[in-house]
Amino acid sequence: MTMQFNTETFRDDYSFRNSDWAIRRFPFPFHEDSYMYSVNMEQHRGGPEGSVYEKRFDVDEHYVSEMHDRALVLAEDPLRCQSLPHMTLAGWDLLELIMVSKSEDYPDLFELHRDGNQWRWINKPLGIDDTFTFLDETTLPYGPMEYITRQTQGDFAVLDQREENLWMDAGMVTTQADWSLDFDIGMNFFEWHAPVPRAHEMGIFKRALKFLLNVQQGSPARRLNWTMTVNPRLDTSPENYHKWGVEKTTLTPENIGAKQHLRVELQTFFRLPRSNALVFPIRCYLIAFQDIVTVPKWGRRLHRVVRDLPEDLADYKGFIANRPLMLDYLSQYDDGLPTSPGVWPDLETEPPLQK
């Protein structure tokens, strides 16, 4: 195995760290010095080598620890994983999609051997070697969706498509930015998006839904979303707000660089072939402010975006109270120089900090 997996936590002592490699490949979400909601979808057909966009399901140094954290969440709260009865076939679709993709994209980590419906799945990082019958639930320790998403980073919403709408009828949700599967289960696209400010009025959701209804087999799509989290906690759920909400008040000028994290979601969309459902993997990447500012372009830009973000968005994203503290910290890394367009770090071409 070529990849080294960290041993780290996303709770209690928060030992989560990004290596230099993980910092350089971080999916920085701002392609310009300001941010507003938009219909920002594009094809998900690979990306630059080594980037998080390259593979269908990115596996990185946090894999093993993230799966451990998911198991802890599920042990406390089994309702984080739900699948309405008509979604089982979609669960098998998802299992097949992930097993085929990972075994093709990371042959040194994952193997899939298929003989008709007799399948053998080897997951080396997690030490799993299981043989089962495809489409026969009794041969797996969990339902197919739960089985495979306990082994795959990121949350998963599995949407049934009917009546010109998408319905959140199944999912595995343990690394979410303050929303609840148990609350949203059975809702449609407009219902679960109801709390989002502005985007409805801007017509964004109508156009986004139209796009999603037409996502075709073999042509997956992706977009980025972002928010802020104090401490590298994956499980920022409404269910556990009492645990992490208070941590927002612990920021000080001394600890903000280490504690305050930018939280980016790489969201992808795949049509599932047998069920015609749509799967929406939401992969969460965390990075500490002190790591972002090691890339001069990102430091300059993040300051400008946070400074100019409209109040209602900063409020919805939950950092309006800490914004002054963030700006004090980030302004140290903004010398006013222009930034190059696009999301890439551009370390060779962008000037170092001039102060």
Partner: protein
Amino acid sequence: MSAAPQKAKAGGGTIDVVVRAIVPLNDLVTRFEFERPDGAPFPPFSPGAHTIVEMNDDGRPRKNPYSLMSDPSDTSHYAISVRRDDEGRGGSRFLHTAVSVGDRLSVSYPVNLFPLDLRARKHVFLAGGIGITPFLSMIAQLERQGGRWELHYACRSESLASYADDLTGRHANKVHVYYSDRKEALPLEDLLDGQPLGTHVYVCGPKGMIDWVKTTAADHGWPGDAVHAEEFLAPQPGDPFDVHLARSGIDVHVEPHESLLEAIERAGVDAPFLCRGGACGQCETDVIEADGELIHADHWLEDDQKASGKKIMPCVSRFAGKKLVLDR
């Protein structure tokens, strides 16, 4: 955001296939079976899906949608059944007359605009003529899953009833066939009334049949979301016309036997599409100027949108008049 911008090809991915068998079923309908040149399995699909077959008809590119009728669990091949349409434009005639076993074609990834509602307790299928094809794959899947279903199949005559013998032979109690040359009528009202709660109805056939089923079901108190319909609108031939594509800066002449979308593609402009049957909305195009009449033939635009004259679905709709300018 555009992390790694790529231009998506309109219509999505395609799969190269070889014709492995051509099976005439009767005077009008022929089955075509495809396999992949390297023998690899096809992507699985959901019953009710269609594929778009790309053909080169005497230098004229054709792309026609056909329901996949093979068993979705059998990924060794795809099969379609094609009704010859002598009046219509090429495509179906081309497949019937110019394609032989061993020929290479390319087909799109499956697209499903007519899926099963997997919450249904029971599925009632209503087929008219060649509208039988999507139900063949639905039946194969439900048989394997142990789902409840029944089929009511209206045909012109016994000699034109594709797959009727096969279906009645295998599922005598679930399949009911009605021949109009024997004055047999599909007893729609009775069978709508006798269904258990949680039943869904699916209809595929000519427009008249679909309208009849929808209205009757509504009259009998069926919720709209329990009634599913698919009508394949083969683009109808019409009078030729000219169009100016403003964004591309070119003029295109649309021939009687090609669609506006085909003419746009022939001119080298990559225009979006999915179903090519007026149902998916993907090809929706803004009309900048129209001195004449837009001939709408799609299921996508709302009546007020059609009346506004500001939108057109070039996969099926046409134009008659002096000048048409599109934002494409």
